[in-house]
């Protein structure tokens, strides 16, 4: 848990650095931004892996409790988790049906996959989605060399059955406080940014929250690529995170209409800071290009830029083009 808190904090700091590097005198420093993006990637992976673990545990307990019992749960948020079959209104978007399908499969897969990564969210995720998109896991595996970070939609892939409250809890927390699962959140409608807003319009720190907590709820658009297991790729341990795959999965664009920037890239990822903008993760074609060429978004908060950067971790083309 401490890792998650730390990871989130580091992600926030990293995004702030990337954003502020845009306005630095002398232009963007390639070396420093490369290092910052590597740290961001590592932190994200740790963050997501922890979320996965927690989620997996939660799911397992939920499933155990399915027959009607509620096994004692130390995680308060578990109580907020909705049964897999439930669909919170905010989940109404595309993923709903998918989640339903996945609910049962997840459990199974989760169990079978657990050996890969004990109680790893990733496993659950990936296995669950195997049905959905068999290519996902495959891609996850084969794609491990791909440098372009694809912020796998952990979020998106997450079972939508996630208790909205749980996700919210995650979300609201992500900003400042330690992301504690126990934090129960309303976020039912996905609309209320709860505490995430810190003068930011939307994204940013939320994004990490989203990745983890939001997963269950925020899947708006899930592409096969998203299926990719950023989850499965999840490092086995935080230590490995940094050294492991050079390419983190790209976050998939979320259908969230709040696309901050009108860019031509196909995918952009945004951090959602509020439920309003939840599920809006578009993957940048390149992380920095958005930062560099965002004339139109000058008025937006740096957070947005950071959010987009998050989604496109490892995408350098624009940044370099800007050079």
């Amino acid at each position: 848990m401490e890792f998650k808190v730390e990871a989130h904090r580091i992600m926030t700091i990293s995004l702030g650095k990337i954003y502020s590097s845009r306005v630095q005198r002398g232009g963007i420093k390639l070396h420093k931004n490369l290092l910052v993006s590597l740290v961001l990637r590592s932190a994200r992976q740790v963050y997501l892996s922890e979320q996965e673990e927690l989620y997996l545990q939660q799911q397992q307990q939920l499933l155990l409790a399915q027959p009607g019992e509620q096994s004692p749960e130390t995680w308060s948020d578990r109580t907020e988790c909705e049964p897999p079959t439930e669909q919170s209104p905010s989940w109404a978007e595309m993923e709903s049906n998918i989640s339903k399908e996945q609910a049962p499969s997840w459990t199974e897969m989760g169990r079978t996959d657990s050996k890969e990564q004990p109680a790893s969210w990733t496993e659950v995720e990936s296995s669950g989605y195997k049905e959905q998109a068999p290519s996902w896991t495959e891609m996850a595996r084969t794609d491990s060399k791909e440098p372009a970070s694809s912020w796998t939609e952990m979020e998106s892939n997450n079972p939508e059955q996630q208790a909205a409250s749980w996700t919210e809890g995650q979300r609201t927390d992500c900003q400042e406080q330690p992301l504690s699962r126990v934090h129960s959140e309303e976020r039912t409608d996905r609309q209320s940014p709860k505490g995430l807003e810190e003068g930011r319009t939307t994204r940013e720190p939320r994004a990490p929250c989203r990745a983890v907590a939001g997963c269950p709820g925020r899947l708006v658009r899930r592409t096969a690529r998203e299926q990719e297991t950023a989850c499965t790729r999840k490092r086995r341990s935080p230590e490995q995170g940094a050294a492991a795959e050079p390419a983190s999965p790209l976050k998939r664009a979320r259908t969230e209409p709040v696309v901050l920037q009108a860019n031509s890239q196909s995918e952009e990822e945004q951090m959602e800071t509020s439920s309003n903008v939840s599920s809006l993760i578009n993957i940048f074609g390149s992380s920095f290009s958005g930062l560099l060429t965002k004339e139109e978004s000058e008025g937006e908060s740096g957070q947005i830029c950071c959010d987009q950067v998050l989604g496109s971790m490892g995408s350098w083309s624009r940044a370099i083009v800007a050079f």
Binding site: G26, G27, L30, H31, R318
Partner: protein, 447 residues
């Protein structure tokens, strides 16, 4: 080491008695020339200050070997790249002296984009007695000229002239981080984040690209070049370091484009190491060949490593500079200190290595005796000609008197740039905007 020190402090800041430091005065590079007679410093404001060592005279034994300001000039000015709407900083990233070949001295100075060759020459005589011009240079009234005279050279006050001889521009898309003069004294290289170019000192309108690590798809970028240097004796060998902590030795005889290294020096990373920031701390910030040419020294954030050119698998020596910072990496990341690029230096005989740290500390390691010392460059703690007192950082447990705890280190005071005299035990240490010159009088050749 127990250095007996003659301390000189040259303060470039206008507000020397206050803590405020003008950013333009922050020293960004320090370099001795090949004889050690001249010492050049560059700062963030684009200025270069050259110090000259006083000649030792028996009549003034106390002033032997002190460095005084010799010349100051503005090397680079801020520029604006209109195409990219980017400002180009005037900060001097590196200065390299050319081996002296005549009475004049030549040095290369570079900012992020442009390298300049400067000629530093002295003028201590001037011609007098022109027929057509008077002493002020005005044309004489010809009717007053009755006698022809031959102009003679008369002594004058020493004047140091610095003139730009060559400007090597528009060859780098990314920020130049290193320049290195080849031992052939005709060529030099300049390295930016992704490319290394080879220049001829006399030709400014073209350069050869010899290393290019830019990936076709920038999304696949995983490492950048952080430093590069030519071998001191073999004009065909060069080494460059990367942000991943690797060194690549390239032989220019093998191919025109040296993308394929001849040797790769890399130490396998311990997987159990810290995770979040291990990529940053392993990034090499400086690489220096030893004077013998047999060894290389690299500096990353926490260590200095000495490599044998004949062994690629691991360094032969590793020195922990400030390992106590490992637990503080997160806060150092927050305040950007983790991106500080420390330099390192060899002494003339390659027996001692030196590098900087925080709190204006710098450390020296004797490779033979394995002894090390931590010293501080600060005005409060050292008076001119006082012996520097070794410092110690308390890493845990009970703090002894005179020790400094890790938490009270001042991370704004850092020694990034330094140089060691090529033959004597004289070091120049830059602490933000101050330059400290220390001499080891015990060991230096005197009388």
């Amino acid at each position: 080491m127990g250095e007996d020190i003659d301390t000189r402090k040259i303060n470039n800041s206008f507000l020397r008695d206050q803590n405020y430091v003008t950013e333009a005065d922050i020293i960004s590079t320090v370099e001795f020339n090949h004889t050690g007679e001249l010492l050049a410093t560059g700062d963030k404001g684009g200025r270069v200050v050259i110090f000259q060592r006083e000649q030792e005279t028996k009549s003034q034994p106390h002033h032997q070997g002190e460095y005084n300001v010799y010349s100051t000039f503005q090397s680079h000015e801020p520029e604006f790249d209109y195409l990219k709407s980017l400002e180009i900083e005037e900060k001097i990233n590196k200065i390299r002296w050319l081996p002296q070949q005549n009475a004049a001295h030549f040095l290369l100075s570079t900012n992020d984009k442009t390298i300049k060759l400067w000629k530093v020459s002295e003028r201590d005589k001037r011609p007098e007695g022109y027929n057509l011009k008077d002493e002020e240079g005005r044309m004489k009234d010809l009717s007053t000229v009755t006698v022809l005279q031959v102009p003679v050279l008369k002594p004058m006050d020493l004047m140091v002239e610095v003139t730009p001889r060559k400007i090597f521009a528009n060859a780098h898309t990314y920020h130049i981080n290193s320049i290195s003069v080849n031992s052939d004294c005709e060529t030099y290289m300049s390295a930016d984040d992704l490319r290394i170019n080879l220049w001829h000192l006399g030709i400014t309108d073209r350069s050869f690209n010899i290393v290019d690590i830019k990936p076709v798809d920038m999304e696949e970028l995983t490492e950048v070049i952080t430093a590069a240097e030519f071998h001191p004796h073999h004009c065909n060998l060069l080494v460059y370091s990367s942000s991943k902590g690797t060194l690549r030795l390239c032989d220019m005889r093998a191919a025109a484009l040296c993308d394929k290294h001849s040797k790769l020096f890399e130490e396998p990373e311990d997987p159990s190491n810290r995770f979040f920031f291990s990529e940053i701390t392993s990034s090499v910030s400086d690489v220096k060949f030893s004077h013998s040419g047999r060894y290389m020294m690299t500096r990353d954030y926490l260590t200095v490593k000495v490599w044998d050119l004949n062994m690629e698998t691991k360094p032969i020596e590793t020195y922990q500079i400030h390992d106590y910072l490992q637990s503080k990496l997160c806060s150092l990341y927050e305040n950007d200190c983790i991106f500080d690029k420390f330099e390192c230096a060899w002494n003339g005989s390659d027996s001692v290595i030196m590098t900087g740290a925080y709190n204006n500390f710098f450390r020296m390691f004797d490779r033979n005796t394995k002894r090390d010392v931590t010293l501080e460059a600060s005005r409060e703690n050292s008076k001119p000609r006082a012996v520097l007192k070794p410092r110690k950082v308390c890493t845990g447990g009970k703090r002894r008197k005179d020790e400094i705890s890790v938490d009270s280190l001042d991370f704004n005071k850092k020694i990034l740039h330094m140089a060691w005299h090529p033959t004597e035990n004289i070091i120049a240490v830059a602490a933000t905007n101050n330059l400290y010159i220390f001499q080891d009088k015990v060991n230096s050749e005197m009388h």
